[in-house]
């Protein structure tokens, strides 16, 4: 049997698209689908696709099974007496419903497409920016999706940051030096010492942080600043920062000292 489809093997978005195409191209009455013929053509398509190494998704296989099942149900002779008592639904009914539903949404998609075409031919040129005061920052309009997306990117960033797990009992002075190195590689301005200490989740971590800071001050990698007496103590990387970590010798020396 010659196929109604010129098998340049169109890519179908799913089995419903393929079935609709078969039905519409042959001007078949969708309410009375010749299921045997359609099943054969459907399987032919799958065959050709396989020959051409086109991978069809699992839905195509599932639909093939559905078609064959409907076909076999149509072949089964019906008991006329039973039919009177319990008239059976046309085995094709559910498939027809799905096809029609799918087709309606395809039409709706086309309608949207057409509307887009019109909108794409239309331009507007709002001038509101000229009337907005400079100090009100337009910022971002925010949706729930933005919120999740933002959280996701924050988490991703956190994953790729050289941060050392702190707060565990295992934390050591060299750990803290590495941690501080990470902080000051990102931060050039002064960092509040109080905030750094607040971040620590154990007493041990705080002690290690304190010792690590002393080491870095000694190496002249980091300097302490204080604006006024009893004011906030700030930490700032110094010129010696790069040199202190170059080669890794200093670090390993300190490491040995504490082990």
């Amino acid at each position: 049997m010659s196929s109604p489809l010129n098998f340049h093997l169109e890519q179908y978005d799913g089995p419903l698209d393929l079935l609709l195409d078969l039905i519409r191209k042959q001007e078949i009455n969708i309410y009375d689908i010749p299921i045997a013929r359609i099943t054969q053509q459907y399987l032919e398509y799958m065959q050709k696709a396989a020959e051409m190494d086109i991978e069809l998704s699992a839905e195509f296989v599932y639909m093939a099974a559905t078609l064959i099942h409907i076909k076999s149900r149509m072949l089964l002779p019906r008991d006329p007496e039973l039919d009177k008592l319990l008239p059976e639904e046309d085995p094709r009914q559910e498939l027809v419903d799905r096809l029609l539903e799918h087709e309606r949404f395809k039409s709706a998609a086309e309608m949207l497409q057409q509307k887009r075409v019109v909108e794409e031919a239309v331009w507007s040129n709002p001038q509101i920016a000229q009337f907005r005061a400079e100090d009100d920052d337009p910022g971002l309009a925010v949706t729930l999706f933005d919120l999740v997306k933002t959280f996701q990117s924050v988490m991703d960033r956190a994953k790729h940051r050289p941060v050392y797990e702190i707060g565990t009992e295992e934390v050591s002075v060299p750990d803290m030096i590495r941690y501080l190195r990470g902080v000051f590689e990102q931060e050039r301005g002064p960092v509040s010492a109080r905030e750094l200490f607040e971040r620590q989740r154990s007493r041990r971590a705080m002690i290690c942080l304190f010792l690590a800071l002393l080491e870095l001050v000694k190496l002249q990698a980091v300097g302490l600043t204080q604006q006024d007496s009893f004011g906030e103590i700030g930490l700032k990387r110094l010129k010696g920062f790069e040199a202190a970590f170059a080669g890794g010798e200093t670090l390993s020396a300190i490491e040995q000292g504490y082990n």
């Binding site: 978005d13 419903l16 698209d17 009375d32 998609a109 497409q113």
Partner: protein, 211 residues
């Protein structure tokens, strides 16, 4: 009461109408998002009726063929833009503008399903489209054409989706009610089918339309 007010204020109103209409024109011109008559009326402290009437007058005025601009009702508000029929001439001058965003057919289909069935879950969308995978959802979310609409009260409490105001704007719709009903699409489909063979038993009840 309205009438009485109108009568009382009549001379004044008539007098400042052109002035007010001019202000409304300027406002519609500068705004980037479609603003409703209510929003405009509240902001300029004028009666809504009058504002609405003058806005509709503006819509009608700009509708005339000698205007290359139009004021349209989109997403419940008023928006000024060039008319589509002049797109070729205008396009020559807007090359620098961002290219229109293209949506793939799967994305459009998914959008159509959401537009008609909202709020709708991912499994429901996949069921109608007959394919697995809802990857285009992220694209639609990124473009702000759809948004999350809470969770459905079924097992697994899946997320549901709805279309946004941006959707209305991008597709030039006044509101969702302006969308043709799904039934209308079905009828179109049936008209296409040459009516030689009458639908058989199966067609008695066309699937219910849940728009």
């Amino acid at each position: 009461m309205q009438e009485m007010d109108a009568a009382q204020l009549a001379p004044q109103l008539t007098e400042d109408d052109p002035q007010l209409q001019a202000i409304l024109e300027a406002i519609v011109y500068i705004t980037d998002e479609p603003l409703t008559a209510q929003q405009i009326a509240a902001a300029i402290e004028q009666p809504i009726d009058k504002v609405k009437r003058l806005l509709d007058q503006l819509v009608a005025d700009y509708g005339k063929p000698e205007h290359g601009l139009s004021i349209r009702e989109v997403a419940g508000g008023y928006k000024m833009a060039t008319k589509a029929e002049h797109h070729e001439a205008v396009r020559a001058f807007v090359k620098k503008l961002t290219p229109p965003m293209k949506l793939s057919l799967p994305a459009l289909e998914t959008l159509a399903v959401i537009a008609y069935k909202q709020p709708v879950t991912t499994p429901e969308i996949m069921e109608i489209r007959g394919v697995q995978g809802a990857g285009v959802l992220k694209t639609l979310l990124d473009r702000k054409l759809i948004a999350e609409a809470g969770r459905k009260d079924v097992v697994g409490r899946p997320l549901t989706y709805k279309t946004t105001k941006e959707f209305l704007v991008q597709f030039g719709l006044k509101d969702l009610k302006e969308l043709p009903t799904l039934k209308e699409f079905e009828e179109l489909g049936r008209l296409e089918l040459v009516e030689e063979s009458q639908p058989e038993t199966v067609s008695e009840n066309p699937p219910a339309e849940n728009a």
